[in-house]
Amino acid sequence: MAMPSTSLEHSMGLKPGEVATGTTIMAVEFDGGVVLGADSRTSTGTYVANRVSDKLTALHHHIYCCRSGSAADTQALADYVRYFLASHAIDLGRTPAVYTAAKLMSTLIYRNKDNLLAGVIIGGWDPKDGGQVYTVTLGGTLQRQKFSIGGSGSTYIYGHVDEAFKENMTREECQNFVKKAISHAMARDGSSGGVIRMVTIDKSGVSREFIPGDKLPYGP
């Protein structure tokens, strides 16, 4: 298989031929829930291995994560966290906290940082603290934020999101914010592309949205 093509991928620690979620991922809190979004491109070197991948993975009923970095590492991590959360929810007897999911993920990444390449954004809703977004970086740092962007494509939209973000946005405003930002990142980042997948989580549950490549708010 091909070598990691960009020097970024090589310096990040991807092994030759390893599948990467090149990626743009994003999550935003609103009053009563969160919106998560991602592109759909998975690449091995210069070849797009999957142009319709789903990087928004469920960890529990009201908790999702956005995955970036090595596809194998993040899939395995999400499986572990899903398993621990399910067991924990049975012991607890109620919906687990979003913070618990985020802490589990960050602990796994921190303790195995030498062997992993995973950047994850956790978003979810719980009855105690409402909608929350947590970022877990490559080294295992855990940080709650009002919104978070990640993946190789995020570098191109830092200026845009800093300008476009407003406090106390409504659910619809958050969804449009996510759609627009990811569109811009997909237009400029070679490792991001395909379609936009969006998940909105609130008290009533989870709703999935799919925006095909030709219906993006911004495109080449």
């Binding site: 390893e18 091995t44 291995a49 596809a71 194998a72 899939q75």
Partner: protein, 290 residues
């Protein structure tokens, strides 16, 4: 007593009880090409084009049949579509031994699971078992797989990478010829195809790999797994590169085909190779033929 201790020391040398790979010979193997004139054998790879497509009534899996060791074709007609369960088959690209043994192991695990649960295997179960094993070996088991099958929840198709990541899609290709095959799929795939259409599409995809990728060649193998549980294995569905007709049609000079008995035997004399063989008699000298 002597036999007992001998058996124990042999067991210790083989380190049978220690799990995982044994790297004892690593240093020796690394020094062989530099210290001696020996060169290490290269692992046999299935250069490969493998592909799968879901259609209205199930899945069709396809593969070429060339196995390479470096630039040499080691096997012109190897089988790359492996049995996992009565309703699940798996195409393998990468190192031939890795794909063969990995699929055998998971097939065995599925067999045991069917015995303990009393239910047919699910495709997602096979996928999870494969990805767990491959992730554990961190990509050192070089197996890139196309897994397809039908179970109680429908027809499913997965692509599994050596590092342990998986993707689930309506059509997939893997191997060195995957780009050639994918170009055919992206042009011709439609939802809810008939079986005939699906077979035609997979056949064209594998042919694209056979003709345009140096690592793939020879024949097209197909396996069709239908929702009603029927499976059709079409080994050698298409053999466009068969060299037999050319071989048989070639007219060789008559002087090269000498019939037995053409040379007259004037006399026979035998010297025994060792003392004690004087009495040995060969009954019929004309019996030897090639």
């Amino acid at each position: 007593m002597h036999g007992e201790s001998g058996k124990q020391s042999l067991r210790g040398a083989l380190k049978e009880d220690v799990p995982g790979f044994n790297f004892d010979n690593y240093a020796r193997n690394a020094s062989l090409p530099t210290e001696t004139t020996m060169h290490l054998p290269s692992a046999m790879k299935t250069g490969t084009t493998i592909a799968g497509v879901t259609f209205k009534d199930g899945v069709v899996l396809g593969a070429d049949t060339r196995a390479t060791g470096g630039t040499e074709v080691a096997d012109k007609n190897c089988e790359k579509i492996h049995y996992l369960a009565p309703n699940i088959y798996c195409c393998g690209a990468g190192t031939a031994a890795d794909t063969e043994k990995t699929t055998e192991m998971i097939s065995s695990q599925l067999d045991l699971l069917r015995l303990s649960t009393g239910s047919p295997s699910r495709v997602v179960t096979a996928c999870t078992m494969l990805k767990r094993m491959l992730f554990r070996y961190q990509g050192h088991v070089s197996a890139a797989l196309v897994l397809g099958g039908v179970d109680s929840s429908g027809a499913h198709l997965y692509q599994i990478y050596p590092h342990g990541s998986t993707d689930k899609n309506p059509y997939v290709t893997m191997g060195s010829g995957s780009l050639a095959a994918m170009s055919v799929f992206e042009t011709g795939f439609k939802e809810d195809m008939t079986e005939a259409e699906a077979i035609e599409l997979v056949k064209e995809a594998i042919l694209a790999g056979i003709y345009n990728d140096l690592g793939s060649g020879s024949n097209v193998d197909l396996t069709i797994i239908r929702r009603n549980g029927e499976v059709t294995v079409l080994r050698g569905y298409l053999t466009p590169n068969d060299v037999e007709p050319l071989r048989t049609s070639y007219k060789r000079p008559a002087a090269l085909s000498v019939p037995a008995g053409a040379t007259a035997v004037l006399s026979t004399h035998m010297d025994p190779a060792r003392p004690g063989l004087e009495g040995l008699v060969i009954e019929d000298a004309t019996a030897m033929t090639f």
